[in-house]
């Protein structure tokens, strides 16, 4: 250990000498290197080769081609995207669901975390946390199966709506395209709202309790304490989450879509991810599907940068990323 530290100081030594030192050190560290190199090989195969594989977005790839034999077509695939009305339909659905999730789903975990934080009874607090984290660990297939039963003609929701007198005839709600955006959003919130509190609660646990004591002496109500102490202390983590959410606006939940989508609600259920899946895996148009995926990730990176710029302006020029 000491030996390798000693030789690591050369910046001005000649190139050949440095190479030799590197080889000698490498040989001495063969045990450590033999732990890391399998990981490096793994990354080259399973991460970097697929990244190189993105080049098929600029090619016309068919099943009989290899990656290299397929002819280049430049931006042809991207030009087709612009005229593809099914693609734009999926963009509209993705954005609609993402904005609904952002508008409703973003604040709920914050409010919920504050409510849980304000509970003084330890056992009740733990009970609420235990229950609310549970849905996060259910798979979308399981939840999708549940939703299909709840939304069916004899299901829970129809029973409630009938009982409340809102409807007179039960219908299968999942077959109604106009309700799909809400189903996707609300089921996602149901699943993830509780789990979303966990980071906020971790941050709140670090707030100095003397702030609250001082506020209490000054006669601040509980709501005022939340507004003037808790929320300002969570500003950083809220901004960080907001940035990540905004950069994920074009991403969507493929598992959720594949379970809940059917031939009746497709016009409102197809999102970009499932469209890539359909074009690539079902229709076999690999080049086009890759182009769609690549285009969307580029826009997502741009969104990330823009969101980071805006939130850092709001946070007195401190960047959270």
């Amino acid at each position: 250990m000491g030996k390798s530290k000693a030789v690591n100081s050369g910046g001005k030594k000649p190139m050949g000498r440095r190479m030799k030192e590197f080889v000698v050190d490498f040989g001495r560290q063969w045990e450590l290197q033999s732990m890391i190199l399998p990981g490096v090989v793994f990354m080259i195969i399973f991460c970097y080769i697929p990244i190189y594989g993105l080049t098929i977005a600029f090619k016309h790839y068919t099943v009989i081609d290899t990656l290299d034999s397929a002819p280049w077509v430049g931006l042809e695939n991207f030009r087709i995207i612009l005229e593809d009305k099914f693609f734009w339909e999926s963009v509209v659905n993705t954005l609609a669901i993402s904005f609904l999730k952002l508008g409703i789903g973003f604040v709920i975990p914050i409010i919920l975390a504050i409510m849980i934080y304000e509970v003084s009874n330890k056992r009740f607090k733990r009970f609420v946390q235990t229950i609310s984290y549970l849905p996060h660990f259910l798979s979308w297939i399981v939840l999708g199966g549940m939703l299909i039963t709840w939304l069916s003609t004899t299901g829970l929701f129809n029973q409630i709506l009938l009982w409340l007198g809102i409807i007179s005839q039960p219908t299968n709600i999942l077959l109604d395209p106009s309700k799909y955006w809400w189903i996707a959003t609300l089921s996602d919130i149901w699943k993830e709202a509780g789990w979303g509190t966990i980071l906020y609660l971790a941050v709140m646990a670090t707030i100095d309790p003397t702030y609250y004591e001082a506020a209490k002496i000054d006669g601040a109500s509980r709501l005022r304490q939340i507004w003037h102490i808790t929320i300002p202390n969570m500003r950083m983590i809220i901004s960080l989450n907001l940035i990540l959410t905004i950069s994920g606006l074009l991403g969507s939940n493929l598992d959720q879509t594949l379970v809940l989508m059917n031939s009746q609600n497709r016009s409102h259920a197809e999102v970009i991810n499932s469209y890539v899946y359909r074009m690539g895996m079902t229709q076999g148009d690999f080049s086009y599907a890759t182009a769609v995926g690549l285009g969307v990730s580029i826009v997502s990176v741009i969104l990330l940068v823009v969101a980071n710029k805006i939130t850092s302006k709001l946070n007195d020029n401190q960047s959270v990323l």
Binding site: I51, V119, V128, T130, S152
Partner: protein
């Protein structure tokens, strides 16, 4: 002064009452549907056909479970789910820990390059189609190993473990070196036993995602004998959906018999998660903290 504190107390008490009331409603919204699924799975098909919301089976029956267990498919699917979760978790945790241990030594030659390569994989990926083409050319389509090999490494987990290993006092390692132990032995006999809490956290999360994963099957597996529970459930759901659509306005009978099977399969698929949930809960708070160290 006096009146002020009394008013403050009253405010606070109202706040508490409202808070607890709202949180109770929230927990009911989470529990009730889950409970309803469990109850319905133990209800006879006839009672299910009548519909209605129940907190207790109207007509207790095991017929749904009998129907599920009559299929040979479920035993195989259960075996595949367990096998891919166990093998996947063990290999994933070992592989990540091995790489993380190597990278936790700051004097390792080439470390900067390795780290850069790893961090890039956290933000960029080839996406669905290029990955599919790779898996295909590796001959992993319709192979059990497609569940295991591509899931071996997650650089996020590597960073968590690397930070954990760095927190272990270096004196332990130095004295082992004096005793003549090599890095592999130090890693296997000293660091792995010391890091069990961190390894358990990673294992539990990885286990849940292996158990819940169905995309891998959907993308790479056609062979039904390699279907895990999640995929089997997915097939049942898709089938019953199609039947539902053919039956619009028709009889509810078909809808409800498949419904019973579907509910029972949902419960069977979820039971393992609920069983390890208390363990998970113990670890995920510490897991979040481990993750937060990286900043």
């Amino acid at each position: 002064m006096n009146t002020k504190t009394i008013r403050g107390d009253l405010d606070s008490r109202i706040f508490n009452a409202v808070n607890i009331f709202l949180l109770t409603i929230f927990t009911i919204i989470i529990i009730l549907p889950l409970w309803n699924v469990v109850i319905s799975s133990f209800t006879s098909g006839k009672a299910l056909a009548d519909g209605g919301f129940a907190l207790w089976p109207k007509e207790f029956s095991l017929e749904n479970y009998r129907a599920v267990f009559r299929e040979d498919m479920i035993y195989n699917a259960f075996f595949i789910s367990v096998a891919k979760t166990v093998v996947g978790v063990v290999t994933h945790v070992f592989f990540c820990a091995m790489v993380a241990y190597g990278l936790s030594k700051s004097y390792v030659r080439g470390r900067k390059l390795y780290m850069a390569m790893g961090v890039i994989t956290m933000f960029f990926s080839g996406g669905m189609i290029p990955t599919y083409l790779l898996i295909k050319s590796l001959g992993l389509l319709n192979s059990f190993w497609v569940y295991i090999i591509p899931a071996l490494l997650s650089f996020y987990d590597v960073i968590i473990l690397m930070n954990f290993f760095r927190g272990v006092p270096s004196s332990l390692e130095e004295s082992a070196k004096i005793d003549g132990l090599g890095d592999w032995r130090i890693f296997l006999y000293i660091f792995i036993p010391l890091s069990l809490p961190a390894l358990a956290t990673i294992a539990l999360f990885n286990g849940v995602s292996q158990w819940n994963d169905f995309m891998t099957t959907k993308l790479y597996i056609n062979d039904k004998s390699l279907y895990p529970l999640q995929m089997m459930l997915y097939e049942i759901i898709v089938q019953s959906q199609t039947k539902n659509m053919q039956n619009i306005g028709g009889s509810y009978v078909i809808e409800t018999t498949t419904k019973g099977v579907q509910l029972a399969t949902i419960v069977i698929t979820t039971v393992p998660i609920v069983v390890i949930y208390p363990l998970l809960q113990r670890y995920f708070i510490s897991g979040m903290m481990l993750g937060a160290v990286k900043g």
